[in-house]
Symmetry: C3
Subunit: 284 residues, 3 copies
């Protein structure tokens, strides 16, 4: 828990009783590691229990990264130590499922890269607004011989239909703000200079509304649109199994040789780089 990735944290800022902001601040890359699990758990617990809160915005303090993939340098025992959550899901998917189901309205304000865990957190939020110029969304996992584990196979087809969801998941490529908007990966992409004001105004508007009307309306939407937890269980199991296979280990090793987990081109253009691994490995 003492490596450089964990100097950072997930910070909660209370704008008002009704309006919270959660800022992802794990420099230099906003890589999500085991140290961040209890931080996010505490925040989700608060969102579930504080009856004054109506809206929460997730944003980033790290240039270029909203939140990216899991920390592959973390010791496996550090990641495995967390108990099964209240939903019966493992810690990470448990928190994401509870965030979606909470009465509070959750909004992802995406500037920079939202990849892997970052995309999954955004998808677990109720709404997503993206910087038109600076957002990059992706599920990169298949490019590293991994199966995504935090819900995207359950959530993406419900947002954008099977064809576009398969393109995002099996293409494993970077998706910019305009394409994310076209596909419905995000609600809208907003010019970067206007994103903060837009999201803040929207959140203040929600915060001015009646909490019970919000909660009941959301609950009725969720009846037909929220994936059941049982659909996410096999995703997480498939992710863990894929992580242990030689194919993933070989591709992750190559990525590390090229600069994975360090500031630079591999992390910034991860979609491009996973597309080069196969030829390097003479696999195809």
């Amino acid at each position: 828990m003492s490596d450089a990735h964990n100097d950072g944290q997930i910070r909660l800022v209370r704008i008002s009783n009704a309006y919270l902001r959660v800022t992802l601040d794990i420099p230099p890359l906003n890589i999500f590691g085991p140290a961040n699990i209890p931080q996010l758990e505490e925040i989700v617990g608060l969102l579930e229990s504080d009856e004054r809160v109506k809206v929460v915005v997730f944003d980033s303090a790290v240039e270029g990264f909203f939140l990216t993939h899991y920390d592959f340098l973390a010791k496996p025992e550090e990641s495995a130590k967390f108990p099964v959550g209240r939903t019966g899901l493992r810690a990470l998917p448990d928190m994401l499922a509870r965030l979606s189901r909470a009465s509070v309205v959750s909004i992802a304000s995406i500037r920079g890269r939202a990849t892997g865990v970052g995309s999954e957190l955004a998808l677990a939020c109720d709404m997503r607004f993206a910087s038109r110029e600076k957002a990059v969304l992706s599920q990169w996992e298949v490019g590293a011989a991994l199966v995504p584990g935090g819900g995207p196979m359950a959530r993406l087809p419900r947002l954008m239909g099977r064809g576009r969801a398969l393109e995002v998941l099996l293409g494993a490529d970077d998706i910019n703000g305009d394409l994310a908007e076209l596909y419905g990966y995000v609600n809208r992409s907003i010019p970067d200079s206007q994103l903060d004001d837009f999201v803040d105004s929207f959140a203040r508007r929600i915060a001015s509304f009646d909490r019970r009307a919000i909660a009941e309306t959301k609950r009725l939407v969720d009846l037909n649109s929220l994936p059941p937890d049982a659909e996410i269980v096999p995703e997480w199991d498939a992710f863990i199994a894929s992580l242990g296979r030689p194919a993933a280990q070989a591709r992750l090793r190559l990525l590390f040789e090229q600069g994975f987990h360090k500031p630079g081109d591999v992390e910034s253009r991860l979609g491009y780089h996973v597309g080069t691994l196969g030829s390097t490995m003479d696999i195809s």
Copy 2:
């Protein structure tokens, strides 16, 4: 039943045996009240039983309004007197569910504001075409501490995905033609000068087709896309319950003080005005 809102009516015009037009003509605002329930009931009954009809277009004769919210000046006993409909739903959601399920193809031609009941009627139609410049769609209810009751929590996520549906429902704001098209709230937005010709040509095309092929194809689409009535029951119950709560009564009172139910800025820019109530009430 004797107030000014009910001088108007919902008029049925028979263009041909196969092609009907239903014109919403309740000046000055196309507010839907209890007097309009039997008018719409009669029309829906005819659409269900007249085996010559293939297509029906809903449009408006009132400048600026396709159809807006329910009449909050109507006496509660006037609204409550209607028996449960054939589906087991209350009168308004019953008619909307039956319209969706009828063999006839229903098209909403939206010019002006489609808010509350107006949005719900449009969503119950099979298709929606909007004036690019003059359409305004919204579910304004949460902004008045109400829960929408006529089906939008069941219908919107199926059209546009959970994230955009939550934005429409919890944001309670006005949605213009372009955004409605991007989100799939409408099929397409059409330049205002072309909307009438476009819809009329499309309706005449449908009217020229074989009634049985239309009906069977629609029925097979509905198998996987139409919400079950059971999902709409709790919406209506939640709407009625919310209407009786002090939070909604307080916000409606403020809206009335500002000009609700009268021609003017509150009715024309309802999305803006519900966003100002919270600060007035010092609620957030």
Copy 3:
């Protein structure tokens, strides 16, 4: 089986062990007939069994046509002779359902008309990319008093929502590349000059990835997004029944008088021409 439509064939080209191309080459119109059923059956069987294959692209060698409607000149006994497939569905919907469910990633590269069977094949593929200038998609059947039979009532609403699916199916009109992209009928429309390179690069990218990660991710997407076969059974039955009715026979006869099944305006602008049949027949 000896008519001119069947000089052509569906050709399989192996670009690499992992990457196949299936080229629809049934000049002059890419009309799909009974002779093509065993050809497609052989290809789908290979896609299911060859464990080296990761991706297959369907394209056309016929100018102006990706793949169009079924061959209405074929003898009914030629079409009816094929046994029920492994899924329990009839031969054509059986192959389409198996293609969707195969581990291999299937991509339709649509240049020219994808109508009827052609649209249904494209919809059964995992992804669809269309030429912005040259793609034309449609389900034309209702325009000829037919009910579509190969899955579009099950697949279209899941891709684009009920309203747009009903417009496509009941309007029976030609949909160009831009509208197909807006509606989600295709993943994206691509400028024609870039389509081949785009699809080829995407397919090579997929081919460079790990086969098991692809297959497991796709299987998890399919859990919530693929229609059950049971939903397609009644479509095929309704298609066959509609084909036997006088309304369809009369409209097909008119289409044949005007040039159906021959190169020319009827086949090229089928959406327009089915829209003229009703007035000719004095039906509406």
